[in-house]
């Protein structure tokens, strides 16, 4: 369960990072708290859109989806089911691939680094790793997590 909690928390953080970048992109926030100015270079470049859609909006939708899956995976009825972990891992894996492409653009094409994008890259990578760890736990038949129940007072084994 601890992996799924971590996934929910990380996807919520990612949601806020991408919302912040998207609000900047659509002109609702004047300047980005970035320090180096690299954020604006990246956000205003032609690569800040992918297939005609703002990359920040893609991130926003992606993290919202991950957050919804992570929350659903925390429901007691789904705690020991494998498909939420598989879905979370698959979505995060797509995110990691997309982030790798964006990071390549930052480093070798735009020649500027956006700290918020680096933050998002760390978040999506962590989400992917958490998904893999959860899958491994389920496939190895490990216990369900750390939740303590008031009914029994028992503590389950750590995930």
């Amino acid at each position: 369960m601890i992996y799924r909690m971590g996934a929910a928390l990380m996807s919520l953080l990612g949601l806020f990072v991408s919302a912040y970048l998207y609000l900047y992109k659509i002109g609702r926030i004047g300047t980005l708290a970035c320090g180096t100015g690299g954020c604006e270079t990246v956000q205003l470049s032609e690569w800040s859109r992918f297939a005609g859609v703002d990359v920040a909006l893609i991130g926003l939708v992606g993290y919202a989806l991950l957050f919804a899956v992570a929350l659903a995976a925390l429901r007691p009825g789904l705690a020991e089911r494998e498909w939420p972990a598989a879905l979370l891992t698959a979505l995060a894996g797509l995110g990691v691939l997309f982030t790798a492409y964006l990071t390549y653009l930052e480093l070798f094409v735009i020649h500027a680094i956006c700290r918020w994008c680096v933050g998002s890259a760390l978040i999506i990578t962590t989400l992917f790793v958490l998904g893999l760890l959860d899958l491994r736990r389920l496939r190895s038949g490990g216990a369900g997590g750390t939740a303590v129940t008031t009914g029994t007072g028992s503590a389950r084994g750590a995930a």
Binding site: M1, M5, A8, L9, L12, L13, L15, F16, A19, Y20, L23, G27, R28, I29, G30, T31, G37, E40, T41, L44, L74, P76, G145, T146, A147, V148, T149, T150, G151, T152
Partner: protein, 229 residues
């Protein structure tokens, strides 16, 4: 009755706190007012206008000069700048028949007019007045409704290729506030009361204009202006 997972409840409380904090931070960013404002009714110093008589586009030898008094937040000025000016520029200014002089006339009812004028003045420092001027007019629907017009102008500044450090220093210094006020005062002295107003040979033309009317006007004035030289 189902047991209550205490760890999960605690986790949801933490998640809720993070969500509230995140929404609060985003809300704060959205509600932040413009970080830069340009003062109105400043005392104009002689140095404010020294050698400056508006932003000029076109040849010094053009037979006719039109002075435009305009306000960046005025919708008619925006329509004129985006729809009519390209034809005027192409058919009259680039052909050397007309010289265009743009002067600021920020109306009191428009809260971002001076800010926009100052942004364009700061772009002028770096030789990019006209690109910034066009961006500001084209983006009027966007910044006019925004709480952070200054941030949007800064974005335009970046897009037109300005050095942002110099731009920021210029905007926060308010160094052109006096020049903008002087332009407004001069327009008022000439009798300008609305925007856009065109001044041609000392005569005021107010209202809506289209490029064809301007072309006819220049055609009618050009022989007289040439003869007067």
């Amino acid at each position: 009755m189902a047991a209550q997972p205490v760890g999960l409840k605690r986790f949801y409380a933490i998640l809720g706190a993070v969500a509230v904090a995140g929404v609060g931070l985003l809300g704060y960013q959205l509600s932040k007012p413009s970080t830069v404002s340009i003062p109105a009714n400043v005392t104009v110093q002689p140095s404010d206008t020294a050698g400056f008589h508006g932003y000029v586009m076109g040849s010094d030898s053009a037979a006719v000069e039109i002075i435009e008094y305009a306000d960046y937040q005025c919708p008619f000025c925006q329509t004129f700048a985006t729809l009519q000016m390209p034809a005027i520029e192409e058919r009259l200014i680039k052909t050397g028949r007309l010289r265009w002089r743009y002067r600021d006339f920020p109306l009191q009812q428009h809260p971002y007019s001076r800010l926009a004028a100052h942004s364009a003045a700061c772009a002028d420092e770096q030789g990019k007045f006209w690109p910034q001027h066009e961006q500001i007019y084209e983006g009027q629907p966007e910044w006019s409704a925004s709480r952070d017009a200054a941030g949007i102008f800064r974005r335009y500044a970046r897009e037109v290729g300005l050095d942002l450090d110099r731009y920021d220093a210029c905007m926060t210094s308010h160094k052109y506030a006096g020049r903008i006020q002087a332009s407004l005062d001069e327009g008022t002295r000439l009798g300008v009361s609305s925007t856009p107003t065109l001044v041609v040979g000392g005569r005021l033309y107010q209202g809506r204009f289209d490029s064809d009317a301007i072309i006819r006007l220049v055609d009618s004035l050009a022989p007289r202006a040439a003869a007067a030289k």
